[in-house]
Every structure is written in structure tokens, then in C-alpha cells.
Amino acid sequence: MTNTEWHLDTELAGRYTHGRVTSVLATSIEQHLLRCEVCRRLLQAAVQTDRLDRVWAEIIERVETPKRSLLERLLRHVGVDEATARLVAVTPSLKGSWLTGTTVVLVLALLAAQTNPQGVSVFLLMAPVLPVAGVALAFGPAADPAHEIVASTPHSAVHLLAVRTAVVVSSCLLPAAVASAFLPGDFWVAMAWLGPALALTVGTLALSTRVAPHVAAIAMTVLWMTVVVRGLVRNHDPLFAATLSVQLAAIAVLAISAAVLLIQRRDLGELLRRVS
């Protein structure tokens, strides 16, 4: 790649390091160093490791600080304790990509509902699944930068689980609630996704005491999709998901799941340990 066979040797590297070369030679060396990895390595020993370590410690501190900034500072500001704020801020489901995905799904479902009276069914089908996916992401096998925080938090496992789930679910429910305000038709029909959303989410958590969170999420999603799609096909009712029977079933699932969670709360610690 370079146009010469010119390289530094240890003697020249040493002289350059200690400033014992003329400025023109130094310039040659500096231009060469930009292009030659081998010669750069000759300078590796020129700086003491503990000095480099010290600077690196400052860099990593500054690099990781912004992560805890925005949301976390806001939470601290409104009186949330430090450990909880950190925990919320590092929840994987709160990453921009996830929120963008949620918004896109909602907007598409909303468009479907606006253009086609049958489209409301798309919204009622999709909206409850979003928080389930969010919970699976928050507790799933994906890399979680909060490991050490989870391990060292002064709070109980139940507190942890509750905080995270609340954060994730509200990050989905709020946009979905806004979106449902734009749905054509009756307000309460438009809100019919809320019950199933909570039922599926809590159901996922309850299942997670037995299987991995992402498996639980997939199971709940498949269950929901199967029930609703079958209902849509059989009854030709785009508002099938809003019917009393579905809503009651959702409330039943919610109640059972909550009971399971309550009974299994010792296993929740296990769930969190599995995660981290």
C-alpha cells in the first residue's frame, strides 16, 4: 500500500519518541505512521501502561455516562431512586429501535383501520401483542447491559420485575392509547385492545416462571392470534376482539396469571437470575 519500503526500526522509534529527530524526519515518521500498523506497534512501549489505563478509565466513564443521561436524569429528577432509575433506563425495550417499531406497527394498523372498516380488526389484533414483545425483549435472552445492576440492586426481585414491566408496558400502552383515539367508531370499541394487552403481558410473565421469557411471549402471541383469527373467520365480525366473550376471557387470563405470579413469586427471583 505504501510507496516505499521505508520503515522505522526500534532505534529510530526511540529517537522519535524522545524528540531526538529533526522536524523534517519527524514529519516523515508521522506521515508514515498514519499508514503503517507495524511501525505504530514499535511505539507501543513508548507510553507507560498505567498512564494509558488511567486515561482509558476516564474515557469509559464519559462514554457510558450519556447512556444514563436523558431518561435516567428525568426519573431521578421526579424522585425515583437511583437503582430503579438506572434499571428503567437500561431496559432493552426502551431503545429507540423498539419504540420506532412500536410506532410503525401502530401507524400501519391505524392506516388499515382508516381505509377499510374491516381494518379495525388489524388494530385490535396487533396492539395487544406489542407489550408482550416488549416484555420478552426486556427479560429475554438478548444482551442486557444491566446485569450488574440487577445483581447488585438493593430491591427485591418482585420490585424489579414490577418496575420493568410497568415501564415496558406503558411504553407500548401510551402510544397505542393515543393511536386508538384516532380509530373510527365507538370509543370503547377502540379501547378493546387494552384488556387483552394486559392479559397477554401478565400471562407472559406468569409463563416465564416456567419457560424462557421469549418462549412464553411467542406462546401467548400464537394463542392470541389463533383465537382472534379463528373468531374473525367464523363470525365475520371485524370487532370480534372487542366482543364480550373475548373481553371476559382476557379478564379471566389476567386474573389467573396474576394469581400464578403471586403464588410463584419466589420463582420470580429465579427468572431474573436466569436473565442476568
Binding site: L33, A45, R62
Partner: protein
């Protein structure tokens, strides 16, 4: 501690940094910090400032890794950041003097015959011509042409008014042209 012998190229590491990998940033840091410290040290005598600049540089690399186009050496890209962070540091705390001024004159005597030959290959007559410039003019050439700074940045680096850098650059150019003609 990340391995120095990480199999990834600098470009791949930078892509990983752009994706938020602090581990990749550390590998880059371990590869590049030493030569950066030495090179910055030639432009700033205060090791505290050099360390600050090194720190700022890698924080900038972290934030700006996505801006690397994949064109050119990563080392050159990092240096371009480092020299500007040095200028920034000098803006906060003006340098007492540009250290190159001090040692260039005494160092002329240290130059070996071997250096002469190498420089002959590298630059031809240009090397000699640069060497014969006064230290004031040479530092200006160094900062603008070789470190790639703008007049204003060079002025901050050298602790001079921008007008002075401009006139010195003009004089240096005239001198070099005469010598190389």
C-alpha cells in the same frame, strides 16, 4: 482486557464502535493511544494536556464513529480528530510555547547521515528546503500542510493571531518555491 491481537481491522472495529461497542473502542484505544501520545507530545509539552486531549479524542471517536466513511486509514482519521481536540484544548488554555520551536534548532546537529539518505528518498530536495526554513515558518507549515489544520486552527495551536499564521505561510511558500525552483 481486550486483546491487542483482536482479529478485526481498524475499520471493522470502528463499525462496531458505531454500533455502540465499548469493547471495540478499547481495542482501538490500545492500538492507537501510544503513537497518539507521542505525536501529541511533540506538539504539546504538558503531559496533562496530552492526556486530556487523548481522552477527548476517543470520546469523539465514540460519538463520531458513524461518520467514518471507510475511505482512508483509520489512523489518519483518528489523528485528524486528535489534532483538533488539541486545538480545542489550547483554546481553553493557551500554550506557553509551541515546543517544536525549542528543539528543532539544536536537533539539526543530531541528524545522522542515514537520516539524510532516508529524507532524500522521501522528499527529495523538499526536506532540505523545509529544514532551512526558520522555526517560525516551519511550525506554520507543519500545522497547516502536514497536520491539515485551517489557518484559524493553526493560529490557536501555535498561540498566534490568524493574520500572523497567514503571512508566515505566505513567506514560507515563497521561500520553498525559491529553493525548489
Amino acid at each position: 482486557m481486550p486483546d491487542m491481537d483482536d482479529f478485526r481491522t481498524d475499520g471493522e472495529l470502528l463499525a462496531a464502535v458505531a454500533d455502540g461497542s465499548a469493547a471495540a473502542l478499547e481495542v482501538l484505544y490500545r492500538r492507537h493511544a501510544s503513537w497518539l501520545v507521542v505525536r501529541l507530545g511533540r506538539r504539546c509539552a504538558d503531559p496533562t494536556v496530552v492526556d486530556e486531549v487523548l481522552q477527548d479524542t476517543f470520546v469523539s471517536v465514540w460519538k463520531g464513529a458513524g461518520n467514518y466513511t471507510g475511505q482512508g486509514d483509520v489512523a489518519a482519521w483518528v489523528w485528524a480528530i486528535a489534532i483538533r481536540r488539541l486545538v480545542d484544548a489550547f483554546r481553553r488554555r493557551p500554550p506557553v510555547s509551541y515546543p517544536l520551536d525549542e528543539f528543532t534548532s539544536e536537533l539539526n546537529t543530531l541528524e545522522s547521515a542515514e537520516d539524510r539518505v532516508l529524507l532524500g528518498i522521501e522528499h527529495g530536495d523538499l526536506a532540505g528546503a523545509l529544514e532551512r526554513l526558520s522555526p517560525e515558518l516551519r511550525t506554520v507549515v507543519q500545522a497547516t500542510v502536514l497536520d491539515g489544520l485551517t489557518t484559524r486552527e493553526a493560529a490557536r495551536l501555535l498561540g498566534l493571531p490568524a493574520g500572523t499564521v497567514k503571512t508566515r505561510m505566505m513567506r514560507a511558500r515563497r521561500a520553498l518555491r525559491k529553493e525548489l525552483a
